[in-house]
């Protein structure tokens, strides 16, 4: 055992242990870790946004490169603060509307190419059990998500039921993978505590 002398490793180890105390029950050590983390994250994001957005756009783009059109976007963004002035709160809706509209249009411009490729590659020959199961799975799962056809209809209901089973199997697989992922995260934290902090060599 060779205890670390690195203050960064000590800070990491103490924070990890403080957070893990929650697994026993809610306690002051956990609350301290929670509030410290929240405060740190808030400060970190403030500094990050300041340097990566405000400095870049105002100093570099506008003042240095003379790209004055950015000012329009900045004004639009700042309009969100009108929500704190009750009589002018309606003005805050414009940047929001712009952002939702832009986001939707942007996604619609690019997303169809990706899923149309998926549709195309679903055209598989029904010449093996595996392929038949894949096509049944795709069609039955799609049927499960038809919201305007009553599932009381025996044909639609039957296909949707098959779809539900496919979904449940997929969820089971996802569950298994996620649980393993979480344990892998724990393994890397355990490595920090045992190897990096306590200096125990496997």
């Amino acid at each position: 055992m060779n205890l670390s002398t690195n203050p960064g490793i000590w800070a990491q180890a103490i924070c990890i242990l403080a957070v893990y105390t929650y697994l026993y029950k809610d306690n002051p050590i956990w609350r301290f870790a929670e509030t410290t983390y929240l405060g740190l994250a808030t400060a970190y994001w403030f500094v990050f946004y300041f340097h990566n957005y405000i400095v870049v756009f105002v100093k570099d783009n506008v003042m240095q490169n003379g790209e004055w059109h950015y000012i329009l976007a900045i004004i639009l963004g700042l309009m969100i603060f009108f929500r704190y002035v009750p009589s002018l709160a309606w003005l805050a809706r414009y940047p929001m509307s712009f952002w939702v509209g832009f986001g939707t249009g942007y996604v619609l411009g690019f997303a169809p190419a990706v899923w149309l490729t998926q549709v195309r590659t679903s055209f598989i020959a029904l010449n093996s059990v595996e392929n038949v199961l894949i096509v049944i799975g795709i069609l039955a799962t799609l049927t499960y998500f038809f919201f305007t056809i009553a599932k009381e209809n025996p044909v639609v209901g039957g296909i949707a039921e098959v779809g539900k089973w496919y979904i449940m199997i997929a969820l089971g697989s996802a569950f298994g993978n996620t649980v393993l992922y979480r344990w892998n995260l724990f393994l890397s934290r355990a490595n920090t505590i045992i190897v990096d902090w306590l200096g125990v060599t496997p």
């Binding site: 952002w99 939702v100 169809p112 020959a125 029904l126 096509v135 799609l142 599932k151 996802a174």
Partner: protein, 270 residues
């Protein structure tokens, strides 16, 4: 995106390889536009069937009312341009109205400043529509942190301190889903979880009392709000799904009986 720069444009404006994309978006747009117009003018459009577990929302609010404890709503951790967040906004209005009606405290906990601002507006409006503007407390709509796990740990803190009786989580969730759902479950909350992020769904299915699977969250939002725009959109998407269903069936049959005939594949690649 649709304006070709180098490749020879189709019909003068559409870039090669993007004609099928454009047609699909156009088709979806027409479906939705027709259905929204019909819904707005009170004409008949296909009805969205009841989704199992949706009544649970009212049941959860009822239980919180009986216990005199708050209802909390978490609209995922993504911003306002995420469709799942928009679906959550549709549900929030319903939940906030029910809470206002029964005088139950309503907490909305957000991880992004844009949904936070919108949710505050929606909640205020919901209380106003229920004739209880005075009962609306802006401090109950909270922006906690934009950092995923800082947000998660503060939600857990709120669960511990303010003890909501019902926890509704609908939106785009990631690694925090299991932590939140497990904490809620141990505190005996009635929980409703819904997300289209398939890797997180198993945790909602396992730890929540009711789970909305994938696209059900969009339908749930339309079903609860009865808002013509949402309703028409969900029905329009349903039609497109049916069309895709048919195309995949025809494509697979063709790949089996006439593998050399690739016109359908080529059409989707235009």
């Amino acid at each position: 995106m649709l304006l070709a720069q180098e490749a020879k444009p189709v019909l003068g404006v559409l870039a090669q390889g993007q004609v099928a994309d454009f047609v699909v978006v156009l088709l979806l747009g027409i479906f939705i536009w027709v259905l929204i117009s019909r819904a707005r003018t009170g004409r008949k459009i296909p009805e969205i069937k009841k989704i199992a577990g949706l009544e649970a929302v009212d049941e959860a609010i009822g239980r919180a009312t009986e216990m005199g404890r708050p209802v909390d709503f978490i609209p995922g951790i993504q911003s306002i341009d995420e469709p799942q967040t928009l679906a959550a906004l549709g549900m929030i209005s319903h939940v906030a109205k029910q809470c206002a009606r029964y005088d139950t405290r309503f907490l909305a906990l957000t991880c992004d400043p844009l949904p936070y601002a919108v949710i505050e507006e929606i909640t205020r409006q919901a209380y106003l529509e229920e004739g209880r503007p005075d009962a609306f407390n802006p401090d109950d709509v909270r922006f906690l942190s934009a950092e995923q796990f800082a947000f998660t740990s503060s939600v857990i803190g709120i669960f511990e301190r303010e003890r909501p009786a019902a926890n509704i989580m609908v939106g785009s969730f990631y690694a925090e889903s299991m932590i939140l759902a497990e904490t809620g479950s141990f505190q005996g909350m009635i929980q409703i979880g819904g997300t289209a992020n398939t890797h997180q769904l198993p945790f909602f299915v396992a730890a929540c009392d009711y789970a909305l699977i994938g696209e059900e969250i969009y339908a749930a939002s339309a079903y609860l709000s009865k808002e013509p725009v949402l309703y028409g959109t969900v029905v329009g998407q349903d039609w497109l799904k049916m069309l895709v269903w048919l195309i995949i069936l025809v494509g697979s049959v063709m790949a089996t009986v006439a593998p050399d005939n690739t016109w359908l594949k080529d059409l989707l690649q235009l």
